[in-house]
Symmetry: C2
């Protein structure tokens, strides 16, 4: 893979330690924290070509390239980021970051609580999207980035991108919010609550302090992931890929996995439960539920967005029913009402919500064309 | 409630015992079985006015009226059935039945296995829709009903109604299949499998033999029900009823139920887990997954329906995404291809899949008009 001219190649995570406290929206405060991040490309002399990639529920700072030549998988958005790719690392300085509360090295429930010397566990404060944005801004300061050429994210990542333009209206040149929504619906919250209930009800959860019991609520986390997975894919996409195919001839008349879709889902659930932290999953779903930038502006999204100086690209996918095109159009309408510059694209795809991670050609072309203009604009 | 002229009033369940074995599609056989049922109205002299009501996942034989004057709730389809109601008990003889595998008195996992003297539990055979139809036919024989004026059901009940016309093409005059589908999609199966996995993973499940442990897998069943419930309602309906309303002022920054929708779902889940049997839930979801009448006809639904002599009413609801109108149209198209008589109605409703249990006026009018013609036709 090192010889792929469009790959960022072998990359190394970096770690930024912050000793000053971070006040959180809940009223709690983190006394100190660390953020894991990766960068690809080179920051130009006037520091105008930096792009921030915000991750979704299960993502992290490892966005592109490989840590070792023999890594099975590259970073989670490797298809989008690299030399000559839409987020072109020969022009942009790209920053990926693991959010607070994560389980990939940034301070989170698995980290040691300095007050007790034990893992934070249940005591880790609930964080919201705006807390992440504040932490990301601290990293930007550390890296000497006053203004992002673009802040980009899909799903929960798109919420962070949108929130950046509200919290730091002068620090974002372009906001790309993809397969996202300005707030969750009751149905969205309901799905998250089933996932949380599955984790909380797992006897191995131990009120969130399972680390010291040497166990993890894997059954609950598996269920949460299986359910989430269904909502990431479209009915049509699942139908095309799995349909009613059986693993063997004929019905088994039992409760093992016999349809291909069952086998796939259970495998995905098990694999995820082995590598992800349940407390982080809880935190991430709560950040989703709480996201509502209009809330402190009397429920008016145009009012929330009034101060922003960013230009926007809003992208939605036809078969995404988790955050349908209608949800993206709410953001677009609010931006129009606020008299902001916004482009909107609705991409034909069978991949449902996950389409933001896929490579449907018109999506890739759109991203490429838009970001090429951004690069020109910042002289990258 | 006794004085409501449109209620069937106080009703009593009845029990039919069958001592002959019932061979099942799985190859297993029930040595003997009992069926709980209720009837409303009077069978006419030529036995032409009988209507069978088939229940969905969590339903039973108690379809209308009350068992006691102080019952809090009437039967599950009381809005549809009674004197002067669409399924008019002053004209029809209505039969409600609890299906095999149920947990309301018919032979099921909670019943004693005559071979062991203990509850069947995990040993209860997996049953399919066609097994239910055969058992229902045995009850029809017992009641002296050669031909139903109509077989009617919503959701899984609609699948039984459809299956009747395939298995016993000469015994059904009218088939009313509502908010149903000719088979599940991969997404449908996936949701069922998450529900099953929740139950199977509950430490109180004990491989299905939890009765003798004096426990029940209530956590798993609660999760299954919460998830199911989301799929019964529409995004739009949930939005209208709950939106993002909080139970108290401001975010709680914890994992208790704080949005109204969470509170509602958890309550529904708990209530259901207290009264329903988890083994029955497993069986019902499996019957849904397996349903596919075209399967033994080379995948051709028109071929499966070729022999039926019934007339059909197919009803779908605009916001039903569990079994969307497109799924009902598959049935309609197959019936047209098979040159059968079919009427189709797509009802505007915000109630999602649950609309089949609701009283949207155009739905009630449609049912009333259609069944009035059926009553006229059979001289009821």
């Amino acid at each position: 893979m090192n010889h792929d001219p469009h790959s960022v190649g072998i990359v190394s995570p970096q770690c930024a330690e912050f000793d000053e406290p971070l006040p959180l929206q809940s009223g709690a405060s983190l006394p100190s924290y660390r953020l894991m991040y990766e960068t690809y490309g080179t920051l130009n002399a006037d520091r105008s070509n930096a792009v921030l990639i915000c991750h979704a529920l299960s993502g992290n700072h490892h966005v592109a390239g490989r840590h070792h030549a023999d890594d099975k998988y590259p970073g989670w958005w490797d298809t989008m980021i690299g030399p000559g790719k839409p987020i072109d690392t020969s022009r942009f300085f790209v920053v990926g970051i693991n959010n607070l509360g994560g389980c990939h090295g940034s301070t989170g429930p698995m980290s040691l609580n300095p007050a007790t010397g034990k893992p934070w566990g249940a005591a880790f404060p609930v964080v919201v999207v705006n807390d992440w944005v504040h932490a990301q801004a601290c990293l930007a300061d550390r890296l000497g980035i006053e203004k992002w050429a673009a802040v980009i994210g899909g799903s929960l990542g798109g919420m962070q991108a949108l929130r950046w333009t509200v919290t730091f209206p002068q620090r974002v040149r372009h906001c790309l919010t993809i397969a996202s929504a300005p707030k969750l619906t009751a149905q969205n919250i309901a799905f998250n609550d089933v996932a949380r209930t599955a984790i909380l009800a797992d006897p191995d959860f131990h009120g969130g302090d399972y680390y010291q019991h040497g166990v993890a609520p894997k059954r609950g986390l598996k269920l949460a992931r299986m359910l989430g997975h269904i909502t990431y894919l479209s009915d049509e996409g699942l139908g095309g890929k799995f349909g009613r195919q059986l693993k063997s001839d004929g019905y088994q008349f039992g409760y093992g996995s016999e349809f291909e879709i069952e086998s796939y889902l259970r495998y995905q659930g098990d694999r995820f439960a082995d590598v992800f932290d349940a407390n982080t999953y809880l935190l991430m779903t709560k950040a989703l539920d709480y996201f509502d930038p209009a809330r402190h502006f009397g429920g008016s999204l145009p009012a929330a967005l009034a101060a922003t100086a960013a230009k926007f690209l809003v992208v939605a996918f036809t078969t995404d029913w988790r955050f349908s095109p209608e949800r993206s159009k709410e953001t677009v309408q609010a931006l129009l009402d606020a008299k902001k510059s916004v482009s909107y694209a609705e991409i034909e795809s069978v991949h449902g919500h996950d389409a933001f991670l896929m490579t449907d050609p018109s999506y890739m072309q759109l991203m490429d064309a838009y970001l090429r203009r951004v690069a020109d604009e910042v002289g990258a």
